[in-house]
């Protein structure tokens, strides 16, 4: 004890005695600071992200079929959906899993993706025209019908004029080769008076020409990649209570329905000009940045770029406005801008030429005066969305679901990852998935036999099946709706109505196929144990389930923080390897400087062990003092960051931060880890110098001091 005291005393006294010790101390201090702050940041991020993932649909544990080819990836794996085998009967899974004491609820789900064309402006206009034409053919006696038809025709002709102008402008810019002559010819034909004079003779033929040859020329058509999760919407909302309906309403219990993620709705479906204005508003008004920064920069700011895009892409707005609306827009813009210009395009270009002084006013004007004339979103709440997806068996399945509203997860409003997953009822999902379980196929076969049906022709399938057993209609018919193969008569519309209105019982929802299920735990800390219990239950009941933690279920994203942690630890490792070398060298020098002193101690009677203890005690004291200072500093930094928060640099980080700001916190684990690492590195780096010190011969005491 007394020896240890003297060692500590010597070590403490030596602490500030040499520059070398200060260098070593400095390295230890910075190293500890880094480990503490970095560790705390990543741990906090890990926790925040786990909250994001668990709270936005993953639950604590996900189970899926053990027969699946790919591992489950809720947020997609490398841009595609993993190949999962279906779980045939959810009700069995549910009752088995809910028998485990720590399981609170089990929410069925399945994720899939589809490409939807919201239809470009031309498509939308033509669709409307087609509807009116059809009404007339069916003998609708609405006195306004003719007027509506006329107005719609004029609108389509205006669109054609815009497209033609656009084509002319383009031909100035690009070589003739880039413009396909067929397109030019088609536009010319469609714009001609003869075409419209003959329109009423065979409107369907004319419409087909327009749809096939003109609509694709409008550049605002795009395919939208739609990811959706089919789930029991009631259970989902109950289990993930951070979900909040933003627009519209929740899907009524048992109904087919679709909820857009607000983030997706805003980013993918909103009018681009409006979206750009929103973006500018976010930086200019919310964040206080300038469109034109006072300091001259060679690069244009993001806001400037967005304004330029708005000026260049006015077509998107113009195409939406029929003659009456165009006139209103021109009038309003003239007044706002104090301009005599009559061309809408020129007025819009003028309007979008914004600066820091007028932005706020024009932003308000846009939403108050122009937006009411426009369709701000391609799909509105209340619309019926037609989703086509490839089923398991490879054919295209199409389903109509009404859009009830939009939702978002509280705290993750701008999180791109969670915000691109939309919600759909389970029945529609199953229809799109197109999977019939073994007993369902058997049931269908039985019914077929009962009904005396043989091979059913696809085009006659609806008529064949409509009106027989309801389950068959609900389960098996949506696959044969063929949107392209329109039939006259209101049979199709009726059937569609029937499907949309139908209320499905809880039993129907539970009895059926799904891809995975979220398991919500009572005590999330017992995750590992519960996963084992799930595996045991699955084996007992032969359910062939594979339980994975939320982190695994999140796929690549779940590993992001682990990867970041790995990166940090590699960085720390490299820093400490460097530190190791520096400390090693410094300690060697320190030892050499002390050869005389060590020799004296040895001469007086100190054993080698004492000398070893001397060097090690010094480094440990150094480690504790400077490591402690580093840890204290780190604690301060984390505390400070915790109070001010770190702003998420982009949408992705919203997800990792589980909100717009990360407020990191420190755990005892961070501090302990830092100390262990620092002491270990210090001790390791001192082993060789310490060994050298023990080799100092006592005779060195006799030699004159250098």
């Amino acid at each position: 004890m007394a020896q240890l005291r003297i060692l500590t005393r010597i070590a403490l006294r030596n602490l500030f005695a040499t520059k070398l010790n200060l260098i070593i101390g400095g390295i230890i201090l910075v190293g500890t600071l880094l480990v503490v702050v970095g560790g705390a940041l990543l741990d906090s991020m890990d926790q925040s992200m786990s909250r994001s993932i668990i709270g936005s649909g993953a639950g604590n544990i996900q189970v899926y079929s053990a027969k699946s080819k790919d591992p489950l990836a809720l947020y997609g794996a490398m841009g595609s959906e993993p190949d999962l085998s279906a779980i045939d009967d959810f009700s069995k899974v549910k009752s088995a899993l809910e028998s485990i004491p720590n399981v609170k609820t089990v929410v069925p789900m399945g994720i899939n993706a589809a490409l939807i064309t919201s239809g470009n402006t031309v498509d939308v206009a033509l669709e409307k025209l087609r509807g009116l034409v059809r009404q007339r053919q069916q003998g609708n006696s609405d006195p306004n019908l003719e007027a509506k038809l006329k107005s719609q025709k004029e609108y389509v002709r205006q669109i054609l004029r815009v497209l033609q102008n656009d084509m002319k402008k383009r031909s100035v810019l690009v070589s003739d080769k880039a413009i396909e002559p067929e397109n030019v010819a088609a536009l010319e034909r469609a714009s001609s008076n003869e075409f419209w004079e003959s329109f009423d003779r065979d409107p369907l033929d004319a419409l087909e020409f327009l749809e096939n040859r003109i609509a694709p020329q409008a550049s605002d058509a795009d395919l939208i990649y739609l990811r959706y999760m089919g789930t029991d919407l009631d259970d989902f909302q109950r289990s993930f209570d951070r979900l909040k309906i933003v627009d519209g309403q929740a899907v009524p219990t048992g109904r087919r329905g679709f909820l857009f993620a607000k983030f997706f709705y805003e980013n993918q479906l909103k009018l681009k000009a409006a979206k750009r204005l929103d973006k500018i508003k976010k930086t200019v008004i919310d964040q206080g940045k300038r469109i034109f920064p006072r300091a001259k920069k060679s690069e244009p700011s993001e806001a400037q770029q967005l304004l330029k895009d708005n000026q260049a892409q006015t077509q998107e707005i113009i195409l939406q406005l029929d003659r009456i609306k165009s006139e209103i827009a021109v009038r309003r813009l003239q007044q706002e801008l104090g301009s005599q210009e009559t061309d809408l395009d020129a007025l819009l270009k003028h309007f979008f030429d914004m600066n820091d002084d007028n932005f706020s006013r024009r932003f308000t004007f846009f939403y108050d005066q122009l937006a009411p004339l426009l369709e701000l979103y391609r799909i509105r709440v209340g619309d019926v969305l037609t989703i086509k997806a490839f089923t398991r068996s490879g054919y295209v399945q199409s389903v109509n679901v009404p859009v009830y509203g939009t939702f978002q997860f509280k705290g993750m409003e701008d999180a791109a990852l969670a915000g691109n997953l939309n919600l759909m009822d389970l029945v529609s999902f199953r229809d799109l998935y197109g999977y019939l379980s073994a007993d369902k196929i058997e049931e269908v076969d039985k019914l077929k036999k009962l009904a005396g049906a043989k091979a059913i022709d696809r085009s006659r399938a609806e008529d064949e099946l409509f009106g027989t057993a309801r389950t068959v209609v609900a389960e098996a018919t949506p696959g044969v709706i063929d949107e392209g193969n329109e039939k006259p008569g209101n049979l199709r519309a009726l059937r569609r109505e029937e499907l949309l209105r139908r209320v499905y019982s809880k039993n129907e929802m539970d009895n059926g196929v799904l891809l995975s299920a979220a398991v919500i735990l009572k005590d999330p800390k017992k995750l590992k144990q519960t996963m084992k219990e799930i595996a045991a239950v699955s084996a007992r009941d032969n359910l062939q389930l594979k339980p994975v933690s939320w982190q695994e279920a999140a796929g690549l994203i779940g590993q992001f923080v682990s990867l970041a942690k790995l990166a940090l630890y590699i960085a720390v490792f490299i820093i400490f390897i460097v530190a190791l070398v520096i400390i090693n060298n410094a300690m060697m020098m320190a030892t050499l400087q002390r050869v005389h002193e060590i020799g004296t101690m040895r001469a007086i009677g100190a054993q080698r062990g004492f000398v070893l203890g001397l060097v090690l005690t010094e480094i440990i004291v150094l480690g504790l003092v400077f490591g402690g200072a580093g840890a204290a500093l780190g604690t301060g930094v984390v505390k400070w960051l915790g109070s001010v928060g770190i702003a998420a640099p982009n949408d992705w980080f919203y997800f990792f931060f589980s909100g717009p700001r990360l407020h990191p916190w420190l755990t005892a684990g961070n501090l302990i880890a830092a100390f262990v690492i620092v002491l270990l590195v210090s001790a390791i780096s001192t082993l060789y110098p310490a060994f050298l010190a023990t080799r100092v011969a006592p005779v060195r005491a006799m030699q004159a001091e250098e």
Partner: protein, 241 residues
């Protein structure tokens, strides 16, 4: 009376690269308990080498070195260290105090290594020695706050604190002025007479030498002369070979 230190035909050769440098070329001598012996000779004559061998900080190339009955040739590093700790005391030319420790702590240091005495016993022992060397009032000073003479007195106290049988001093007065040097020699002499501790010190100062009761003169690694100052019986002198 048996010799406490006995050297027989001791040869010590240093190796500098490929060249062998002889430092001692066959030295034999006996030292008895209570002797106060000076080893004299010019620089490079082998004084320090001789002291190193007696002090067990180095071993002979050939010949035997017996210290308190132990043949140092056959002792392990640990045993040699224990011999140094318990049987020998050292006084160095440049004092060799631990700069970060106080006067008291420097003197206490060997006792801590011994781990034999309790704290109060250690304290009593240290204080009594510091009183003997006249530094009882400086116990909390750091070596850097002391004069050379004071430092060497601390070193003397440290050398004696374990009550060794032999104290070795390598040119203890070389870094001191003559008055202070004389004081140190007087102090050593006093302790020699009071406690019967054997002192072996090297010096090339004739005045310092005169205090010894025997002088071995070295030149070129050999003892060339064994002198006993007038009036003092020379117990240790062996015939010159």
């Amino acid at each position: 009376m048996p010799a406490i230190v006995s050297l027989k035909d001791v040869v010590k050769t240093y190796r500098l690269g490929t060249v062998e440098v002889p430092a001692l070329r066959g030295v034999s001598l006996d030292v008895h308990i209570g002797d106060f012996i000076s080893i004299a000779g010019p620089s490079g004559s082998g004084k320090t080498t001789l002291l190193n061998l007696i002090g067990c900080v180095d071993t002979a190339t050939s010949g035997t070195v017996l210290v308190d009955g132990h043949d140092t040739q056959h002792l392990s590093d640990r045993e040699l260290t224990n011999l140094r700790l318990n049987t020998l005391g050292f006084i160095f030319q440049s004092f060799n105090l631990v700069s970060v420790l106080s006067v008291f702590q420097n003197v206490e240091f060997p006792l801590l290594l011994q781990r034999r005495l309790s704290k109060s016993e250690r304290s009593a022992r240290v204080m009594s020695l510091l009183e003997q060397v006249g530094l009882a009032s400086h116990i909390n000073h750091r070596p850097s706050e002391l004069s050379g003479g004071q430092r060497q007195r601390v070193a003397v106290a440290r050398a004696l604190v374990t009550q060794p049988k032999i104290v070795l001093a390598d040119e203890p007065t070389a870094n001191l002025d003559s008055v202070t040097g004389n004081n140190i020699i007087d102090l050593m002499k006093e302790l020699n007479q009071k406690n019967g501790t054997t002192f072996i010190f090297s010096t090339h100062d004739a005045k310092v030498m005169s205090h010894a009761n025997a002088v071995f003169r070295l030149a070129d690694g050999k003892i060339t002369e064994r002198l006993a100052p007038a009036g003092v019986p020379l117990k240790s002198v062996v015939e010159v070979r």
